[in-house]
Symmetry: D2
Subunit: 255 residues, 4 copies
């Protein structure tokens, strides 16, 4: 039976600021990328999010980002590899503490925002991120974009890897995402998005923006929880996958 993981960025509230519909999304995902206090999240939010994940049986991953709360970790910062490695270790360790307190194991690490994008194109930065992860726990799974430098670095270093795809994004023929703003970058139609994901899982193929079919491997589908419509989509895609004989499972059961 085919298996796929559904992952979502969660635990992004901070202090009095609420972001995302975590309570409503967590029951429907199999892996949660939990913010670690740098670009979003705080210790109380992390404690609460990890508890919710445990309750609903969603596997917990760290979602480390740049120390840029005001920019939500979305702005490129010219960090050194040593800084990136140390930031990743710090944040993984902090989140792992809340997992320990709940008696569960941290499953994976997915870098956030600008760190995800920068590392994806920079092998040296990716090596630093992967080294940081491995030195803490070599069984942690790196969740990253297929074809990115992060995947290359993880393979080099010997870190387990999971590949993620985006239900709502178009792909170029080389497997990279169509840049935001370009025609075909977003898949607006929900039904089409769901059909594409099912085909990716079942056949390992997707139609690129040019119309040509390309091969694509997916261990996890990234979904969003930032509004009622997004949450509704998470439910729908989960149900559609099951109806098509695909089992939802956390990364640790796939990799």
């Amino acid at each position: 039976m085919k298996k796929i993981d559904l992952n979502s960025d969660l635990g992004e509230s901070f202090g009095a600021y609420k972001m995302g519909l975590d309570e409503e999304v967590i029951p429907f995902v199999t892996s949660a990328n939990v913010a670690c206090g740098y670009h979003a999240g705080d210790p109380l939010v992390m404690a609460k999010t990890v508890k919710l994940c445990k309750k609903f049986n969603a596997a917990v991953g760290a979602h480390p980002g740049f120390p840029d709360l005001i920019g939500f970790g979305r702005r490129n910062i010219d960090v050194t590899p040593a800084e990136a490695e140390a930031y990743v270790k710090y944040q993984i360790g902090a989140l792992a503490a809340f997992c320990k307190a709940e008696g569960i194991k941290l499953q994976h690490v997915k870098p956030h925002g600008a760190l995800y994008n920068m590392a994806g194109k920079d092998l040296e930065l990716s090596r630093a991120v992967c080294k940081g992860i491995k030195e803490i726990d070599p069984s942690l799974i790196l969740l990253g974009l297929s074809g990115s430098k992060m995947i290359e670095a993880a393979a080099e270093i010997g870190l387990p890897v999971a590949l993620e795809v985006f239900a709502d994004r178009g792909y170029e023929e080389d497997g990279s995402l169509v840049k935001r703003g370009k025609p075909g970058s977003m898949i607006e139609d929900e039904g089409e998005a769901i059909r594409r994901v099912i085909r990716i899982v079942k056949e390992g193929k997707v139609a690129a923006v040019t119309g040509k079919d390309i091969s694509i491997r997916a261990d996890s589908v990234c979904v969003h929880g930032d509004g009622p419509k997004a949450v509704e989509f998470v439910r729908k895609i989960g149900a559609a996958l099951k109806e098509n004989g695909i089992q939802l499972a956390p990364l640790s059961e796939i990799i």
Copy 2:
């Protein structure tokens, strides 16, 4: 043979800001309280400090504080017990990651500054701190002030405890520290400070500010590394303890 631990607050540099003579102090202490990025310290500093501790065989402890870098964690903040518990978990986890990366075990936790002082007088806050520590690792040793509420809470909760004394501070008859600013609060003479510590370790006694001898138990002596004179004192007290047949040993060999 009598044993005593020498502990010092270390790893307090931050970014471009240097604080403390860590390289010079670490070779002479047996336990290091390492700042965890809230009141002081940052991930690169933590990585470097843990490496130095490993190199010189100083045991590593977490030194969690309030999220108040501008106040260096020295200002009382009216946190809830749940906040204190979550802050402590976050910081211990973050530091533990750097220990894991170096293949060493985190030995102890000593709350910093205002958190140390507030918890020392507030049993509910102390319980939250101790609960936070225990849920991460019940073998972590709480290093706290003898007679404080922290020690009471740790006993209640079943956390290993180490008692610290201050070489340069005077004591009231009830074993509490003479308040800063009051006559007798500071022991200015180095020789006297050293003689007092030796007597505390050997006889379990110290002269209170009133002149009356009181009983006092010590597992660790807190020393400072914030200037050349402080560093010189650390060397002297270590040498004097050894000359008096007292062995310097980390907390884990004492508790």
Copy 3:
């Protein structure tokens, strides 16, 4: 004709985090207390909020708080008077820059949250706050709780003062607010809240929680903008005041 100001805490969004319905509330208030980047708000939010205030003719005030974003400035921090004075100057100056850029004058200062509460009970802290305000611009109006130490300090120092009342809060016989959690602390019924405010403005009287009428002076009524129901109440109270022959006017036209 009787006049009253309606003030609301605004500009509390931060980076990607949205808080409050500023666009909907600003058209209905006469004075806006704008967060200054310490407990809430950021430079882009401040720029946008000041522009909105100018557009809708709401007077702009600074709403300085503690440097405690994670606690939203609601937690007591044991600052020195010198720290409070410097924090207040910094934040007022920062907000005044955005007013200058829009060609409008900063009207008032209302300390936020824990700073408001602590200063209200601590004359020395209030003096520091008032000194900080006066040294920047002695024409700035302090907006504070009637009967509090802030009002006393402002009178001492010679700072213009405006007194605020709360539509949704009960009062003790001495004019202080009934503590949250005690019976009668909140006025739940909207109609009653509005009737109380109208009576305060017209007669200078309100029924204390004991039932006894007390004298009360009001220059401004504090209203909230943190949800659709709150915004609806702002509209209703404004309309009711006008229907009762009371003119809504910013503090600078009242003091």
Copy 4:
């Protein structure tokens, strides 16, 4: 009589962290670039630094940087022009408040670190910085690198401009600085550094790294205060300039 300004980056301490020998440098410079709390500095430090400047008659300028205390504002951050403009306004306003409190006028603005470098090469970013400055006070002088995009943007927007040179840096034939790390990037010999500055001021010429003389205009010489040797150099260069009939004067007397 020829005039030149000596400027230095000051007020970079933060909380318990001390940086720079401000008390020793301020008496010898004519313009101080004061950190504004984003990359360095805090409200108490700003208050103290402005007081010192007033006492020793050094003109005060704002030294706004990126919100990156952990990186000391030295790391490129991919901010939008709107963010840069708002950050600059916020920080100038905050510092101007401390000037107002001391009854002195803010003289100039010199962007710090990565913001200085990024804006120097990016006209759109420079326009945003200059627009931010001008909207607060069109008489503020922009202090920037000769030949940089900041100077171009200031000319476009109509902001007064002062050009700075570096005593300890080598120049390419096109007037740009020799990149750090390349041979000739640093002028190590103090005597040579001083002779070069005197020639720049008197003749408007300097020998480029290639040996060829180039024309160069200087309104201000940047000096450092981060150690006893640096402070000694500030004294020496000031004395040498005077001995050569050059008057030290703040920017406002030169531009």
